[in-house]
Symmetry: C2
Subunit: 351 residues, 2 copies
């Protein structure tokens, strides 16, 4: 495939009026970008929304506030390493944290299918509370809607969070520069594989748990270590690949990864091989990347490794001035391959 | 029914562990209060959430911020007088406005069923934009999730809004005092009847439109007219009755209405009679009540009547020191009846 045709894939044709929404439009991949660029931006477009960050940052009076929203439709609701309640807290906390914000308050909106067990609802809400306490955020307002049997799927949760952005923090993909270093806080693919294994009833030798975790403490420690962090992203739907492709596109830079530097646990690698999946595309819920100025990389890496959620942190690649908008990866054999964005879903309803 | 047995209804027994969620748990009536007091408050409880207002108000640095969230599951998506897009803007704008906040920014999260027409999505999003422009708010961040066919119902939208609360504004149901006056901005029941008519294919002599509208301008004009407004509530699920019962319970006061003073359009009254509904319980999306100190009532009423969305404003009753926690209504015949809160739904999925 020529570079031009790959570039065409990254800028898909506008959606036609007669089309319908596909599962892949919620994937975080190219189809998601289509619906964003073809439906939401033309109608709602404004400079903040157009940033396409996972959070928007606005000034209200003297304070800078970050706002982020996420609906959680994960199936199954309870999984190894978490449940929809803890996930709904971690997801929004992390979206705020990678914007440089200190997450403070959450809203929680429950969309329940008639017939859902009250006892399961209690378990989910108790889990939300524990996760919120650990992350240091408070659920201050909420909403409950119930839909008829067959018009929902048990339980969906939306959380929206507000956080305080220190006045000297300004993180944006647009600040990535050739020469910058890419840091990752640990091994990838565990959330997606844990969900898939449970959904499909697969058994692996060692049980794989979701990595779902609150990353606000880690982000704060990194920002404390250096003011030369360009941007951070958490690696959820679409995995490491989607996050890096988005940054490469937004910053008009190339990104070059070293495959051997990307931590993947043996069990996850084995499961991916068996299932024909690539860990680069599998969802995480406790992983982030940071693009960091070269001089700051060692300090930030040290701060990450000193944190519970960054013990396996690694430098996994660099920002380059060639192949702008693209992510490439050097394999252990010395060859280089393009790490494209997926069109649709590897695994639907992963978060 | 004795007053004691009515009081028992207002404080229902705790939910058992074996129960399941009913449609009525999303009604805004007593069953909603059950799930709030039986599930959400025990687990998530904190002073802000326990206020049970439609918005939470917090201080961040020097500014007071209001946060409010709502999921919209209305069926049908397009109705006379609006659609799920405009409703999702008005609903959250109004929840902020009745808290005394100036609504500023919204998040919008779309939960779409696979197969939903892109063209319908475009119409909804365009409508959101128009409604946001008119209300003076901006959608600054969003999320899209897609679920499989049969696991949703076309389109659900969550909006969460943040607003700025002037430092001298502090509205709360707890501030209502015997002698206070109850103001209503116009005729009730239009939203619910419009939705029901459309859903059931009913034809009335004159077509009834939803009253869905942004009330932030009206609220600002009222607060401008007097600082002696105790609290405001918009009248959505559960109608006028639910809003007043909530205030009576929270403030431990009685509320006495004059039936003849409550504006109801002839067509709505006729439809309600035909359908066996009571307009006091029917949902609105552009109506609010204000509890106002007696000396301020005339000023606030004048400000309301000068506003597009308050032309039919009226004094509909008073706060009393008898029958605390209860709402009563004097009929044109001079008798008095109790206006209780509904247990469940008159009309499910009305917003």
């Amino acid at each position: 495939m020529s570079l031009q045709s790959i570039a065409d894939l990254a800028c898909p044709a506008p959606l036609g009026a007669s089309e319908t929404v596909l599962l892949g439009h919620g994937s975080g991949g190219k189809l998601s970008a289509d619906v964003m660029r073809g439906v939401f931006l033309p109608a709602l477009g404004n400079p903040l929304l157009a940033c396409l960050n996972d959070q928007a940052i606005v000034s209200i009076g003297e304070v800078k506030i970050a706002l982020s929203t996420d609906s959680f439709v994960i199936h199954p609701l309870f999984f190894r390493g978490g449940d929809i309640g803890s996930l709904a807290v971690h997801g929004t906390v992390n979206d705020l944290a990678v914007g440089g914000a200190q997450p403070l308050f959450l809203s929680a909106a429950f969309l329940i299918e008639e017939g859902f067990p009250i006892d399961s609802l209690r378990r989910v809400v108790a889990s939300m509370r524990r996760a919120a306490d650990i992350a240091g955020v408070t659920v201050i307002t909420g909403d409950t809607k119930v839909v008829e049997r067959g018009k929902g799927d048990g339980l969906f949760i939306n959380t929206t969070g507000i956080g305080l952005v220190p006045s000297d923090v300004e993180l944006s993909a647009h600040r990535a520069r050739p020469g910058d270093v890419i840091l990752l806080n640990g091994s990838i693919g565990e959330h997606g594989i844990a969900i898939l294994a449970q959904r499909e009833g697969l058994e692996f030798e060692s049980e794989i748990e979701s990595d779902s975790a609150p990353l606000n403490g880690l982000c704060a420690a990194m920002l404390e270590a250096s003011t030369d962090i360009r941007c951070m992203r958490d690696l959820t739907r679409g995995g490491l690949s989607s996050a890096l492709n988005e940054i490469a596109t937004q910053a008009h830079v190339g990104i070059d990864l070293r495959e051997s530097a990307i931590p993947v646990r043996e069990e996850v690698r084995g499961a991916c091989e068996m299932l024909g999946l690539d860990p680069l595309y599998v969802a995480n819920e406790g992983k982030l990347i940071a693009i960091v100025a070269p001089d700051a990389a060692e300090d930030v890496l040290r701060a990450m490794r000193n944190h519970l959620y960054g013990a396996q942190a690694a430098i996994i690649g660099r920002v380059t001035d060639s192949l702008a908008g693209m992510v490439t990866m050097r394999t252990p054999l010395g060859t280089s391959r393009i790490v494209d964005m997926l069109a649709g879903d590897q695994l639907p309803r992963i978060c």
